[in-house]
Structure formats: structure tokens, C-alpha cells
Symmetry: D2
């Protein structure tokens, strides 16, 4: 598994972004990927980078379709090759 965090900041749309965050979450729901909203980003789990990138491109299209003039997308990917990881194992590893 690959675990990633995604944030898409919309510029030119005022200071509130929740409407656009919910639209991105709708894209992730339709993609079938497991995701967990967090206060500063959305954590996504996928079998490959390609699956994550496909969802991000779709989300970008949706935001563009909502009339957003500038989209700053940040993606951070944890790709572990020496052992299997998931949202669960990463949270379990840092428990006291």
C-alpha cells in the first residue's frame, strides 16, 4: 500500500474552502479509495501512485469546473518498499 496526504488550496475563491474540500472528498468517495479527512489535509490509501494521481487529476477537473481560477495542490506520498504499510499500521506504529 501507498499512504499519501492531499491538500488542494483554491485561490480567488475567498477565505473559505470547505465547499471545495467537500467536492474533493466526493471525488475520492467515487474513486473507491480509502481516505480519512484531517484538519490540514486528507489522508488517502491506495495500491499505487497511479491510483492516487488519477483521483487528483479528477479532483482538479472538478474544482476547475466549479470556476476556481487557481489551484495549489500538495501531495505527500509515503512509499515503503521494505514492509507493507497502511493508514492503520502507520497510526499503530506511533501509539505509546
Amino acid at each position: 500500500m501507498i499512504v499519501a496526504e492531499l491538500s488542494m488550496i483554491t485561490m480567488g475563491t475567498g477565505t473559505s474552502a470547505s465547499r471545495y474540500v467537500r467536492a474533493v472528498h466526493q471525488v475520492l468517495k467515487e474513486s473507491g479509495l480509502k481516505f480519512v479527512p484531517s484538519p490540514m489535509c486528507t489522508v488517502v490509501e491506495a495500491g499505487s501512485m497511479a491510483e492516487i494521481f488519477k483521483a487528483v487529476e479528477k479532483a482538479d477537473d472538478v474544482l476547475a469546473g466549479m470556476g476556481v481560477g487557481r489551484i495549489i495542490t500538495s501531495i505527500k506520498i509515503d512509499h515503503r518498499l521494505d514492509k507493507e504499510i497502511s493508514i492503520e499500521t502507520k497510526m499503530g506504529a506511533i501509539k505509546e
Copy 2:
């Protein structure tokens, strides 16, 4: 309130980082700041940037004291001036 996400990647310490993440969480606990671990970062809430930066400097010292040879620290800060925010309000705003 200011809400931020923090991640501190240790290089030269193998592929596992959980020992170091727990050490950073211990610093945050001692700082009295509210924080929420998440799979890709730790979300922190504070009254000012200065409070967050003070905790980050302390965490950097602790990791250095653990013998880490290179520390890549990423901080992302949401500073809203037009209304009060917190970890709760940001999570509430994106609920369906």
C-alpha cells in the same frame, strides 16, 4: 487560534521513524499544546505561530540529542484572520 501540521523526517536512521515520531509527540505533550497524530503528520493547535515554533525547535534539539544526522522538518500553518478556527471547527466545516 492557529492550526498547523508538522512532520519531521529523520535521515540516516533507517526506514523506520516511529521512535522519533513518539519523541516529538512527547515534546508536544510537555509543551501543553493540543495535538492530534495523523498517519502522515501531526496536527497542532496554538494561540500563536511563536508557540508552535518553540515546540518545533525543542523537538529538533531532542532528535539531535538522539543522534539523528539530518532532520527534514515540514510545517504548514493555517492562519485565519477573518474568523476564529480550531481543530474542531476545521473538521466540522468539512462534514457532509
Copy 3:
């Protein structure tokens, strides 16, 4: 155009990363995309997100082939829909 910044941190490979940064630059060279190395990341220009993602997936494969055990990839994309941007226009816009 889309302008992005890319950084790929290798874990489990000691504190030096330049060998791996050069390998990523070789992938970008072969992709034909315009890129500009900078001290903390590499700036890439492309016609679409898909072109950038394709190069990132290839770079990830190359690093895995070099025996890297964990790869933390950060991508930040500036997608402007209200006007054409490039590495040049973005640098020109901030000149005094």
C-alpha cells in the same frame, strides 16, 4: 502550463541524498520536461498534471531499483486557470 515543485526524500540510505537527486534529474531529462534544480526541490514545467505524474512514477521506480527502502515524495502544483503561467512568468512576476 502547470508549474510544480518536486522533492523525493530517500530513507534508509544515510544522510546524503545527492546520488538519488541526480537519478531523479536523469529521469526528468529523459522525459523532456523543462526542470530547474533548486536547493530544496526541483521545479518542473509541464503541459498537464499527467505529464508530471508520469515522470514522478518513473523516478519512484528508478529509486526503488537503486535499493531505496522508503521514499517520501512531495509534489506541489500551481495550476492557474485564469492565465498562462510558466517558470519564466512566475519568476518575472516577483521581480522588483
Copy 4:
């Protein structure tokens, strides 16, 4: 030395940000810290994290004074403890 990259995204101020980027660069100039603008961020060099954080707090104040309603600040810090680094050495290390 510590090398960092800084980006401050202003929300609620339209799609253009160059006016605000130039204001941040003015703060960095007055701080005396060495900095290099790049298309996606500004690279800063300092003797300590504290010096960087002080400049970021000042830049945040200046943007707030310009009436910005929401500021998303991203800071990424490379703190190397096993050898001295600078903007020059980091660029030199990745030359072919």
C-alpha cells in the same frame, strides 16, 4: 547553517499573489538573511531555526497588515548535523 524553503499563500486576495510575495521578500531583505527566490517558493539560509521563524512571524504580520484574511504558510527545513550545508553546497552536490 540551516537551509529552508518558504511559501506563503494568501487566500481571499484573488488569484494573483506576486504583490504579497514581494512583501515577504522585503521582510527577508530587512532580516539580513540570505534568500533566493524560486518559481514555487523562496529558499532561505540561516544560522538557526529561530532566525527563520522570526522572519516568518514578521512576514505573517506584514501580510495581515495588508488586509489578507487567511495565510497558508509552508516551511520546509533541512537541518544537517553531520556536516555543514549552505545554499551553495546543496546546489553543488547535485551538479552532474
